[in-house]
């Protein structure tokens, strides 16, 4: 009797797992192509004060990764956006930043090598102002700051793994913080460094089916 129960249980487990497998494997997943985005402004410098200090508006640029468009600031309280940029600060629509299901973490490795989000990954949510899903600060999150030359460079080999406002998954690599898609040379003028900064270029892959596989 005991044995039969065990056998049935085992059978059920095997069957369900087969069914489960076939279920998730069956829809033929189209290969997800990476989308390249250039020069998204992120609170750019709009002028200089009398003392020569940069003036900005102090506003985020909201972005929908699902639709690959900039979302108007009037929709900031909605789930229409997934990620927003203001200077080096990045927020994700979730936690203290928004009403969405968003979360994120920074993965060390290559964009193309990240085929499946590891199961033990922990998605963090924003908890302003003490912590952010994408940690702020030089060398800690996505960028490094060179104080001598006053330049921001995205860290190489970092992938932002993002859960969107609606709970889908995105992997993203930031390639530049400067207009034109490349970090300025150290010899660039101070004025150029001021006015061309705060433009994000990145590539991302969006998985619409809710799985963690790209």
């Amino acid at each position: 009797m005991k044995k039969t129960v065990q056998s049935i249980a085992l059978l059920v487990i095997i069957l369900t797992s087969i069914i489960a497998c076939t279920k998730s494997d069956s829809p033929t997943v189209l290969p997800i192509t990476a989308i390249t985005v250039r020069d998204i402004p992120a609170d750019t410098v709009v002028g200089l004060s009398a003392q020569g200090a940069p003036i900005t508006k102090g506003v985020y640029t909201f972005y929908s990764l699902e639709k690959n468009v900039i979302v108007p600031n009037t929709d900031s309280a909605s789930t229409k956006w997934d990620i927003a940029f203001m200077a080096t600060r990045i927020i994700i629509n979730g936690g203290s930043s928004g009403t969405g299901q968003g979360g994120a973490f920074v993965y060390t490795g290559l964009f193309d090598d990240l085929k499946t989000i590891p199961t033990d990954s922990v998605f963090k949510t924003d908890n302003a102002p003490t912590s952010y899903a994408i940690t702020a600060g030089s060398g800690k999150g996505w960028y490094t700051y060179d104080g001598l030359n006053n330049l921001i460079t995205p860290l190489a080999g970092r992938v932002l793994v993002i859960r969107t406002a609606s709970g889908k998954y995105v992997k993203m690599e930031i390639t530049s913080y400067y207009k034109g898609g490349a970090t300025l040379p150290a010899s660039a003028s101070d004025m150029e460094k001021l006015t061309k900064q705060r433009y994000y270029s990145f590539r991302f892959a969006y998985q619409p089916n809710g799985t963690k596989t790209f």
């Binding site: 200089l48 004060s49 009398a50 003392q51 020569g52 290559l110 964009f111 702020a136 600060g137 960028y143 490094t144 060179d146 104080g147 001598l148 030359n149 330049l151 460079t153 995205p154 860290l155 190489a156 080999g157 970092r158 690599e173 390639t175 530049s176 898609g181 490349a182 970090t183 040379p185 150290a186 010899s187 101070d190 004025m191 270029s201 590539r203």
Partner: protein
């Protein structure tokens, strides 16, 4: 390019009307006496370690004013340009080379760099450069090598007065004089140097050479109490005032900032030498030196800025030289150092931070047969505030025949932790409020801050903080010297330095505001290795040519391990990350893979001389621009460059001599990476020497 060669050839030809024959000695590795390599007088031909000698004539004919000018023309040396001009020896930073004047160390380093512009060259007899760790004789800092500037002369020098004027209102005036009698020797030297400075980057507030007024005074007196005993006193003072009056234009607004900097470097020595017999002599030396640097300025934002550094170094030492027999020579000695630093960057500038060192050393040289010399030495330094150091060295010379020589040396060198690495207490309120604490301060200060609830996080590295160990290196030098004829000299040298316990700034925690907290840990491991070539050829009685080349490879061993483990990334042209391969790695920043120089000297019978010097440096990594922590091919490099220099001079019988020079003929500049290199500059020197009747 061709044009300059023509000038070189034509000028001497025109001036050289009188073709009298003189027997000018070629500046070969002649058998001069070297004191630095063994801490005792030795013929150069019997020195077991790599040594270069720069003599007074070379210095004068190159038209060099400051130590920097002449060192940059020497093989294996490179000048750096942050915090003054420091010297990089075989790829190791300025921190790792000890600078001596007549065997006594100079102090007063800013961020590890001793500004070699402090040293005037007007009274220098020669400069000895010993390559390879020499801590077995000199203790801390002698890790890459030793540069010893020797002013002592034993001959009469009639009063010499010189005045020079050059580009950027650069004046230099000097008087030098030495009197030698049977019992008294006196030498006096006075120098005044001033320049209006220059800015090759007019709209920036940084990276300019500022106006300077600098005075140097040097007095040496030696008295022979008896045939075997003498007493010597020496003092040297350098005083410099630097003014900064800069206007910075930013967005149409001009802001002035005014800064004053006053640095004094003074040292005095008193020594007693006694010869017991031809085999045995001893000397007692006392030395005092003090470096004082004060900065007072109003910054761009209008905030006053004040910085003070005062470094005092006192030493008492005895050394005995004992020629046991013809084959065995022994030296031994012991000493004590008391050192103290006050700085506005420590928790209180009133408190002098001190360290005491007791040390003992010995060296034995054995000549089993004429062709073979073996030298072994050892030194122990016991330090009060950081771990002790033990520095052995072994070297050997084998004269294969009259033409070929082989040298091998293996030594351990060390550099004591800086006072700043132990006592710094610096918070930069202007730049985000980050703090740097020396290791002696870190635990206590951070502990106090924790109780006040100021600390947000402490990293693992915080718990690893402990008493710093000296940085140490093992250097191996293998060289082959070849003198096919009396007019030719060739040498090939292979070198490798392995450095461990490098002291590096490391983040140990963060304030609750997120601002970073740094301290120092013994964590780095690095190496430098390369080949150095030198060749000299006397073509005829009028012309000689010398050339040098250095190939250098450097690397951080931990970074190399990370790259091999596939943990370091870089970016390709599209901005996408990829793994960094070892072939992309360029090693430590600010190092040139290739460095070369070529000098052509011409001497005529009538005292006329001319020279033409070409210096080359290949490109070097300056900025880490591609988002990883290592320097690789994708980073920003300063361009390699060639600079050309020439000088022509003549001496008249009535005591007058003249010299003109043209430096950086091609007007090469790189404002960002070579802020201290002006474009083309010219100078003219007039010198008068009182003729002895």
């Amino acid at each position: 390019m061709k044009k300059y060669f023509v000038i070189l050839l034509v000028i001497p030809a025109l001036l050289n009307a009188q073709q009298r024959f003189i027997n000018d000695t070629l500046q070969m590795q002649g058998d001069s006496v070297v004191v630095t390599a063994n801490r005792t007088e030795r013929k150069l031909s019997n020195i077991t370690v790599p040594v270069n000698i720069v003599n007074a004539k070379q210095i004068q004919q190159a038209g060099s004013l400051r130590l920097t000018d002449i060192l940059k023309e020497q093989p294996g040396l490179n000048m750096t340009s942050g915090f003054g001009a420091g010297v990089q020896l075989q790829g190791l930073n300025p921190d790792y080379t000890i600078i001596l004047i007549n065997g006594e160390p100079l102090v007063g380093r800013t961020a590890g760099v001793l500004d070699l512009n402090r040293i005037a060259l007007g009274n220098i007899k020669k400069i000895e450069i010993v390559k390879g760790p020499s801590s077995s004789l000199y203790g801390s800092e002698a890790m890459a090598g030793v540069i010893n500037i020797i002013t002592e002369s034993v001959t009469n020098i009639p009063v010499q007065a010189s005045i020079r004027y050059g580009t950027y209102e650069t004046y230099d005036a000097g008087i030098n004089n030495a009197i030698a009698t049977q019992s008294v020797f006196y030498q006096g030297f006075y120098n005044y140097f001033s320049t209006n400075g220059f800015s090759i980057r007019p709209n920036s507030n940084s990276r300019v050479t500022t106006p300077i007024r600098r005075y140097t005074l040097n007095q040496q007196l030696k008295y022979n109490i008896s045939n075997n005993t003498n007493i010597a006193v020496g003092i040297r003072v350098t005083d410099e005032k630097i003014t900064n009056d800069i206007s910075v234009s930013n967005g149409g607004t001009t802001i002035n900032s005014l800064g004053k900097e006053h640095n004094t470097d003074q040292n005095g020595s008193l020594s007693l030498h006694h010869r017991f017999s031809n085999q045995l002599k001893t000397s007692f030396r006392t030395y005092y030196t003090e470096y004082n640097a004060k900065q007072d300025l109003i910054t761009i934002t209008g905030a006053p800025y004040y910085d003070l550094l005062n470094h005092v170094f006192k030493r008492l030492e005895n050394q005995t030289d004992w020629n046991i027999n013809k084959k065995v020579n022994l030296i031994f000695g012991a000493g004590a150092v008391w050192e103290g630093v006050k700085s506005s960057r420590y928790d209180s500038e009133q408190i002098r931070r001190t360290n005491t060192i007791q040390y003992a050393f010995t060296q034995i040289e054995w000549t089993p047969w004429d062709q073979f010399i073996i030298n072994g030495g050892i030194r122990f330094d016991k330090n009060e505030t950081f771990a002790s150091a033990f520095s052995p060295k072994f070297s050997a010379l084998y004269k294969i025949n009259t033409k070929h020589k082989l040298k091998l040396s293996i030594g351990q060198g060390f550099k004591a932790p800086d006072f700043r690495q132990i006592y710094l207490d610096f918070t930069n309120a202007a730049a985000g409020g980050y703090s740097v604490f020396g290791t002696a301060q870190a635990q206590q200060v951070i502990g106090n801050l924790t109780r006040l609830g100021q600390i947000g996080t402490l990293y693992d590295s915080y718990y690893q903080l402990k008493t710093l160990k000296p940085e140490s290196s093992i250097g191996v030098h293998l060289s082959w010297e070849y003198e096919p004829t009396v007019n030719s000299f060739v040498s090939v040298q292979l070198f490798r330095n392995d450095i461990q316990n490098l002291i590096q700034v490391q983040q140990v925690g963060a304030y609750i505001t997120g601002a970073q907290i740094f301290s120092y840990l013994n964590i780095g491991r690095a190496f430098t290795q390369g080949i150095e070539l030198e060749a000299k050829q006397k073509i005829n009685t009028h012309i000689n040519v010398s050339t040098g080349y250095q190939y250098l490879v450097t690397g951080d061993k931990d970074q190399i391990a990370m790259i091999k483990a596939g943990k370091v990334y870089t970016r390709d042209a599209s901005g996408y990350s990829r793994l960094l391969s070892l072939s992309d790695y360029v090693g430590l920043p600010n190092n040139n893979t290739h460095k070369a120089q070529l000098k052509i000297n011409y001497y005529a019978a009538n005292g006329l001389f001319a020279n033409f010097r070409i210096l080359y440096r290949s490109n070097w990594a300056v900025n880490n621009t591609n988002g990883n922590d290592v320097f690789d091919q994708g980073d920003e490099f300063a361009n390699g460059y060639i600079s050309l220099h020439t000088s022509v001079g003549t001496a008249y019988k009535n005591g007058f001599s003249m010299q003109v020079g043209w430096d950086n003929i091609t007007n090469y500049t790189d404002p960002l990476n070579l802020p201290n290199l002006p474009g083309s500059t010219f100078f003219a020197t007039l010198k008068y020497q009182f003729i002895k009747k």
